[in-house]
């Protein structure tokens, strides 16, 4: 699009700094420590799962583990516990990877199930998300240190998908539990720079929406979901 007033503005800054512009190629930022990479890096997969569970539950997040074979039944239970549909699902190949296609069909027989589909446009998708009692996403990572899931928005799973429904469930393979945000960001950074990820929005979500704005009293569900569930699939 457009860039306005840039040259005058940046030249003024360079004057104030008393150095010429375009120095960065010779002076890129050099990390001074590998602490971000080494923190919690020595944990085994089992330890990472335990850390993730402890830290998620403190937030609080409902933390569930399941084998792939029981994933569908587990999701059905979680949906029922939260009052059923309308359920908003993403349009994604993940259902096939998790062998959930049969579950998708059976769910639709008992609940209202809708799909986020970019081709239906902004208004229609926002309406589905606003009306949804619950949405289920497939996360890219679970961060053990902070009990955070990470998701990237795209055509089949927009931004508001994660924020407008009343309840939110995120499914993540145990193999995608990483020590902390460092590893997840490194992956996103690589994917974006390699042109493999065209997403315009990456979200790190650590439990339900909350606020301490009234007398520092912590309340949940101010804007986003009222509660959040992480489902870790242990055998993938």
């Amino acid at each position: 699009m457009t860039i306005i007033n840039r040259e005058k503005f940046l030249n003024h800054l360079a004057d104030r700094l008393d150095q010429p512009r375009h120095q960065l190629a010779q002076h890129p930022y050099q990390p001074i420590s590998d602490l971000p990479q080494t923190t919690l890096a020595d944990q085994t997969p089992a330890e990472l799962l335990a850390t993730a569970k402890t830290h998620s539950e403190k937030i609080p997040v409902t933390f569930v583990t399941t084998a792939k074979a029981q994933l569908g039944a587990q999701l059905t239970t979680l949906i029922q516990e939260r009052g059923g549909g309308p359920v908003l699902l993403p349009t994604t190949k993940a259902f096939e990877q998790f062998q959930l296609t049969a579950w998708q069909q059976s769910l639709a027989e008992t609940q209202q199930v809708d799909y986020w589909q970019a081709e239906n446009g902004r208004a229609a998708n926002l309406k589905l998300a606003e009306n949804a009692n619950l949405s289920i996403s497939f996360a890219d990572f679970l961060l053990a240190e902070s009990g955070t899931i990470t998701v990237s928005s795209g055509a089949g799973q927009g931004r508001a998908f994660h924020f407008l429904p009343q309840h939110y469930i995120s499914v993540v393979p145990q193999s995608r539990i990483v020590p902390r945000s460092t590893q997840a960001i490194a992956w996103y950074d690589d994917e974006i720079k390699a042109g493999r990820l065209g997403s315009s929005a990456i979200h790190f979500i650590t439990g339900p929406s909350n606020s301490g704005d009234i007398e520092m009293h912590l309340v949940t569900g101010v804007h986003g979901p009222l509660d959040v569930v992480y489902v870790v699939v242990t055998d993938c």
Binding site: F9, G158, T182
Partner: protein
Amino acid sequence: MGLKTSTKPFEERIAAAAADKFATASIAQSQDAQYVKREGARSELGHWQEWRKIGQSIRQHAINYLPDYLEEFSDHVDQRGGSVFFAQTPAEANTYILNILKEQESRHVVKSKSMVTSELDLDQKIQALPDTTVLETDLAEFILQEDDWDEPSHIVFPALHKNRDQVKAEFEKIGYVGDNDPEKLARFARHYLRERFLEADVGITGCNFAIADNGMINLNTNEGNADLVDSIPETQIVVMGMERIVPSMKEAEIMDNLLARSAVGQRLTTYVTFAGPKAQDEADGPTNFHVVILDNNRSEALGTEFQEILQCIRCGACLNVCPVYRHLGGHGYGSLYPGPVGAVLSPILGGYEQFGELPFASSLCGACTETCPVLIPLHPLLIKHREVETDRLKMMHGFKDTQMKIVGKATASPFLFKMGLQFKHFGMQAFTKHQTPTALNFFAYQGAMIKNGPGLIKGWTDVRDLPQPPKHKDDFRVWFEHHQANQGGATK
């Protein structure tokens, strides 16, 4: 409102803060609670001093190469299909933003918390448009808006000075029915704001960190309101201070960790988002995406001893440890940016005429410097401001210049000081009173106290008693000479 939040004189603001017992109690309570949470979160992370150095190195590098990073960032925003406007002044920024609203015939603007837009006084400017409404969606900012745009009192908890009954009263005006339970009040706000989110055509956000090498905006909120602001409306306008930039997402991630642990003692803020304009194949997110990069005198700090203040990541930790903020509250400072960071930043952004008293309103206890996650030397910068005001600008902020110069001369010259030691007792005679003291081992020498002293001493005796200084014969050095003579001891 803008940067300056009060036209009252400083002494009046201090008196008002002292009188507001609820605000004082809630600030004290929040400082004490935050202390435990913040230090717990840092200690759990481990190697905190090294993390601070990492944070400092990232922020200093970004500021040192600010023109290059801003150029790189704006190129990437452009490639993503967004627009970038560089604004030297609030007026330029406002003109650009209001033009967008007018051209698009925008009706409903939703905002997530942004201190920079408060510098611009943007809400009031939008309100003044005939056909456009603006709504703050952060719960605290929403509360302040409903109270006729009350001024914020903390950079992380803007409504810290309000109690639940005051919030209830404000919400009742817009239809709330119920008691003062924060859960119910928050739930009411959720429904009220949700309706307005869905009809919004423009979203305005601030920016925690701008990612130079991919043009994304990194936002941190616990409520998730920023995510609704950058998901639902067709248009998003990001307003950022020009210093709010990092090289890549990798550095942003480190800063987000330092921010969450320092601001509220969380491991990560609930919603940490990196986002730009909507991609072609996506359904939501802004189609029209604008970034306004504001200077507003920040460049005054570049290349000076004050440059380090631009490292600030607005975590508010320095407010949360500050004993002066503890008693003055946010309103006492009269600036949008209160606390130690505000006392350093406000004179740079708004000048010494407006904010020159703030650098003196510190006991230089150093708690701010000690807690800052990016190693800004806050209290030394307060001394630097004092130096600029006294030595360079010759502005007098309460000290009588001649008196302080005498102090300087007397403490630099052994002869004058010794003369002073011999005579100090006599000068004070007229002001002393003989009373039975309640503080023991304090008035040991004359048994007299000064309750209403002159000159430099007046400020002291306004608040506390001063012992009458010992007579010269009782001075330590006189005693030591005798002591040494009695011992036949070492030479001086």
